[in-house]
């Protein structure tokens, strides 16, 4: 994230005399492991509780302690929550990166910094606020270990005063964040006060960033996608959870475990209505999930790209032997170890066809915390309805960052356990054949071990409709065709896309997952800057609905915007759409590891539309840059 000198020159300055009320981006640069997360979340929550739309993104290294980390808070009265690359207000707490961080700022930006860093000599076009953190901290606390943590709360106090945040409001947020730890609250409040009072007495407000109360967050909550997915899994009645730790998915299962312990222990017996196993690796994790799904449990695992790679063989078994399981893929940057703590949408193609032979998998693409929740619930229903592994394709940005979210609604639909054989259905279908399509939808009945219904032998080897081993060509082909039919049936059961047709638009935009947030803003930019009207199709699931083809047909050009190098979703669309329509597809790609931002999307589309993008905005450096021009 630290930008280069080149980037500096390309950053547009903040216009002199302008006032960025509820519309600025703040960055806190600290050292990983210094405990700044609490201070950053308190700041975020305070602004949220003042009714102002806000989002927080943590850009952190793959490291326990010592490497630089940046926390970005975007305050947006318009409700834009995508990443904004320009920084208007910097809190420079990390001596390693301070110089570079300051050089990357747009002119006119503010810098709160630790006085000894002497940053005011670096540039003349910024507003500098030196703060003697060591001295202030010493007045609050003497414990060496605590000092390091408390220091962060001092900058919260300073920032609060400078941007016009209510001190009481911040104290409330602090209590909420540290809930139930009165000693910690007391100490941190003292630190907050010291910072606030220092700013009051020694700093003269000269930067343009202000927060003023609004009423745009009422009824909303702050939550990360992984927690929302965990709540969804619990509400879906998950019974077997098997996982292996991996960033950025670990917190999904860890949060789930906390909730399960709270809400899923049988009151009378004190026993659990769930089982959680931290497996020896991802292969065992998916193996257990498949074993549990076969035996009738609602089973799940959670992982990221490297884990999905390892699960490939078992997922093929799940597909071919037709066993339900839910897999959360919180995507990070690959290939290989890649950038383990950065975000991407790079597992789309791998997951769609995971494993050898002819395979296709059901995938859901949540964009928001609400959808992490609702799609988690749907995923369990779909897995059992279609007796196959189902993937929920989240990403690091969604999973680990804090988002504003609508309150999560209690599910109204009962659990769909799919076609599980019972006496009644057995009588209706006559003879049970595990892989026999009796309803024409490709979905056969299954019996569960121990339930007294006729048994069958589940296997990854070739089988006929009676689940007998078979190498007969007609048996093999018939079965594989039926599984394909099942996939076709699934199309209309998958979550519907979110489509916005603009009758005046000749340009369509397709996006999915977290890319959505950049698109909301980018479409506004296209309209206000170039009067380009656009329609919008947000993909929520694979296989696609037929509506996707109609959408493409309606528009002359369709930009598919995604966060990977190889236009993975566009490639999937090409396989599905009539050849003629694929000629209309263009690609906009972003794969730096940072969450996609609206500016680069807009500029990319403008370039492809033949505009000359002169202002060279928000294209900070080569490493930051979105892809080159894609398209066909």
């Amino acid at each position: 994230m630290a930008l280069t000198d080149v980037a500096l020159r390309e950053n547009p300055p903040i216009e002199t005399g302008s006032r960025l009320t509820n519309d600025f981006s703040m960055q806190v640069a600290t050292v990983n492991g210094s405990g700044s997360q609490t201070a950053n979340l308190v700041l975020l929550r305070t602004i949220f509780e003042m009714g102002v739309p806000v989002s927080g993104k943590n850009l952190f290294p793959s490291n326990i302690a010592g490497l630089p980390t940046w926390f970005t808070i975007r305050v947006s009265r318009d409700g834009y929550v995508g990443r904004k690359p320009e920084v208007d207000f910097l809190v420079a707490m990390n001596s390693q990166t301070a110089r570079e961080d300051v050089l990357s700022l747009r002119a006119g930006a503010a810098v709160v910094y630790d006085e000894p860093l002497n940053l005011s000599t670096v540039r003349e076009d910024l507003v500098f606020y030196p703060v003697p953190f060591d001295k202030l901290v010493s007045g609050v606390c003497t414990d060496v270990k605590l000092k390091r943590l408390v220091r962060n709360m001092v900058y919260d106090g300073v920032v609060a005063k400078l941007i016009g945040v209510d001190r009481d409001q911040m104290e409330q947020a602090l209590e909420k964040q540290l809930g139930g730890k009165p000693k910690a609250v007391k100490l941190n409040r003292a630190a907050l006060d010291v910072g606030y009072e220092y700013a009051e007495q020694h700093l003269e407000k000269a930067d343009p960033c202000f927060v003023e109360r609004m009423d745009a967050t009422a009824g909303k909550v702050l939550i990360d996608g992984n927690s929302a997915a965990a709540i969804g899994a619990m509400m879906a009645g998950v019974t077997v959870v098997t996982w292996y730790p991996i960033t950025p998915s670990s917190s999904l299962c860890e949060t789930l475990i906390e909730y399960l312990r709270e809400y899923r222990i049988d009151k009378e017996t004190g026993k659990a209505t769930f089982a959680v196993v931290q497996a020896e690796d991802e292969i065992a994790a998916i193996g257990m999930a498949i074993g549990a799904g076969w035996a009738g449990a609602r089973s799940m695992t959670s992982t990221s790209g490297p884990g999905v790679s390892l699960m490939s063989e078992f997922v093929g078994l799940g597909y071919f032997a037709e066993v339900p399981a839910v897999i959360f893929d919180v995507q990070r940057v690959g290939p290989s170890t890649g950038l383990p703590t950065r975000t991407a949408q790079g597992d789309i193609l791998m997951t769609a066809f995971l494993s050898h032979g002819d395979t296709r998998h059901l995938m859901l693409f949540p964009s928001s915390a609400e959808e992490c929740y609702s799609m988690a619930i749907e995923a369990f229903d779909l897995a059992e309805r279609f007796q196959t592994p189902v993937f929920v394709m989240s990403d690091l940005d969604l999973g680990m960052n804090t988002w504003m979210s609508e309150t999560l609604d209690y599910p109204t639909k009962p659990l769909d356990r799919g076609k599980v054989l019972d006496a009644e259905s057995l009588e209706r279908i006559g003879k049970f054949g595990r892989y026999r399509d009796v309803d024409g939808d490709g979905v056969p009945y299954r019996s569960l071990p121990g339930d007294g219904m006729p048994p069958y032998f589940c296997r990854g080897s070739g089988h006929n409709e009676w689940a007998q081993y078979s190498e007969r060509p007609d048996d093999y082909q018939k079965n594989l065709d039926r599984v394909a039919r099942k996939f076709e049936t699934a199309r209309d059961w998958m979550p519907a896309p979110v489509v916005e047709i603009n009758a005046k638009a000749s340009i369509g935009i397709v996006a999915y997952g977290t890319t959505h947030w950049a698109l909301i803003e980018s479409r506004d930019q296209l309209l206000s800057e170039a009067e380009i009207e656009t329609s919008y199709y947000r993909i929520c699931a694979y296989p696609f609905r037929d509506a996707l083809a109609s959408f493409v047909k309606r528009h002359e050009r369709v930009y598919v915007v995604e966060q990977n190098r190889d236009a993975q979703m566009l490639s999937l669309m090409k396989l599905d759409l009539p050849a003629k329509l694929t000629l209309r597809l263009r690609s906009v790609l972003h794969y730096s590891g940072n969450p996609i931002d609206a500016r680069s999307v807009t500029d990319n589309i403008l370039l492809q539309e033949g505009y000359r993008v002169e202002k060279a905005r928000a294209v900070p450096s080569a490493s930051e840059n979105s892809s080159g021009v894609g398209g066909e």
Partner: protein
């Protein structure tokens, strides 16, 4: 009965739950005639019949290989899952988490366990999952035409004369070290011992690991092999004579004190281990490891119940799961009420 030996096999045609022996049969084997694995399938059928096991509660699990095909050849009215190579333990774990009432019989091979599956084997033993895990051990990969497996002994040869120059993995020693609560070794040709060990395994609550020498008549039954019928017969060194008495049979066993050891299992069944040479205590880990090592150094292999810890907590109990199968809990017990979601939301506001 006078001394030592008891016969627990009932003379009746039907067993405890009223089933005849044929109810435990499976499909026709497709393995080679004379394959040790077929004999093991027979012993599994016999043991399940004699123990009055309900086939509807049994799940048969396997990995990939000749051995792993065999679950299709016994207990045809039980559910089965032929999983992927070396990863049957995870599938079995998941299934038992989903339904703790199931009785799991896993069949693996020496390649499936000792090579590709060694990781999952290790963790299965560690967890003490209630499963019978049988390694049908012939020291070679049969389905791919006789390559050495990790249990092939150092210096043993292939049919072509090629010598194995790597030491064998002793799955029994490994299982004991890793915490398995029931470890036995037997020989497919020793009907009496194998069936008694299998019945004891069915009575045990926890991982019962059985390494059964099971010669491959096609690729590993020649002179120079240490896994051939001839070699096995000559080098089988039983540590004690084993008799099994199920909980439901009222049999008095008289034995000379100091001559026989008794082990009682979770369900009340007992095994009696009669001294054959050195006094052997199957609860003594160090003795088990020492006997395994000393017999091996003599080129022999110790058979019988090597180690047992009947009271060890199994994995399902460790997880404190409700008594009913998780798989079929009704919605009301797995979906928390609306008030729970409201409380969570309140905490996030």
């Amino acid at each position: 009965m006078a001394t030592g030996s008891v016969s627990s096999s009932r003379k009746n045609k039907s067993n405890l739950i009223g089933l005849e022996s044929k109810a435990y049969r499976g499909g026709k084997t497709t393995l080679c005639a004379g394959c040790g694995h077929n004999a093991i399938s027979e012993r599994i059928i016999g043991a399940c019949f004699e123990m009055g096991i309900d086939p509807e509660r049994v799940i048969k699990l396997s990995g990939i290989g000749c051995s792993s095909k065999s679950p299709a050849y016994f207990l045809g009215s039980s559910h089965g899952f032929n999983a992927v190579h070396g990863r049957m333990p995870s599938v079995g774990t998941g299934a038992l988490l989903a339904n703790r009432k199931l009785i799991a019989i896993g069949v693996s091979g020496d390649g499936d366990t000792g090579a590709i599956g060694i990781g999952q084997f290790v963790h299965l033993m560690r967890r003490n999952l209630p499963i019978i895990y049988i390694i049908e051990d012939n020291g070679c990969y049969g389905l791919t035409k006789g390559q050495f497996s990790p249990t092939a002994d150092l210096g043993s040869t292939k049919k072509t004369g090629v010598v194995n120059d790597l030491p064998a993995i002793d799955t029994c020693a490994l299982a004991i070290e890793l915490g398995a609560s029931f470890v036995a070794r037997s020989f497919s040709g020793d009907k009496k011992q194998l069936q008694a060990v299998l019945k004891a395994a069915l009575a045990h609550k926890g991982t019962a690991m059985l390494d059964v020498l099971s010669p491959c008549v096609t690729f590993n039954d020649h002179k120079g092999s240490t896994k051939s019928y001839a070699y096995a017969k000559d080098h089988d060194d039983p540590i004690s004579e084993i008799d099994f008495v199920p909980y439901f049979e009222d049999i008095e066993v008289d034995y000379e004190p100091g001559d026989t050891r008794e082990v009682e299992f979770h369900d009340g069944s007992k095994v009696y281990l009669r001294k054959l040479g050195e006094d052997y205590d199957p609860r003594n880990k160090l003795q088990a490891l020492s006997v395994l090592s000393s017999t091996k150094s003599r080129g022999e292999f110790a058979t019988g119940l090597l180690y047992v810890e009947p009271a060890k907590t199994d994995f399902i109990d460790l997880l404190n799961i409700v008594d009913e199968p998780l798989a079929t809990l009704p919605e009301s017990r797995v979906r928390p009420p609306e008030s729970a979601l409201q409380a969570i939301m309140e905490g996030l506001r």
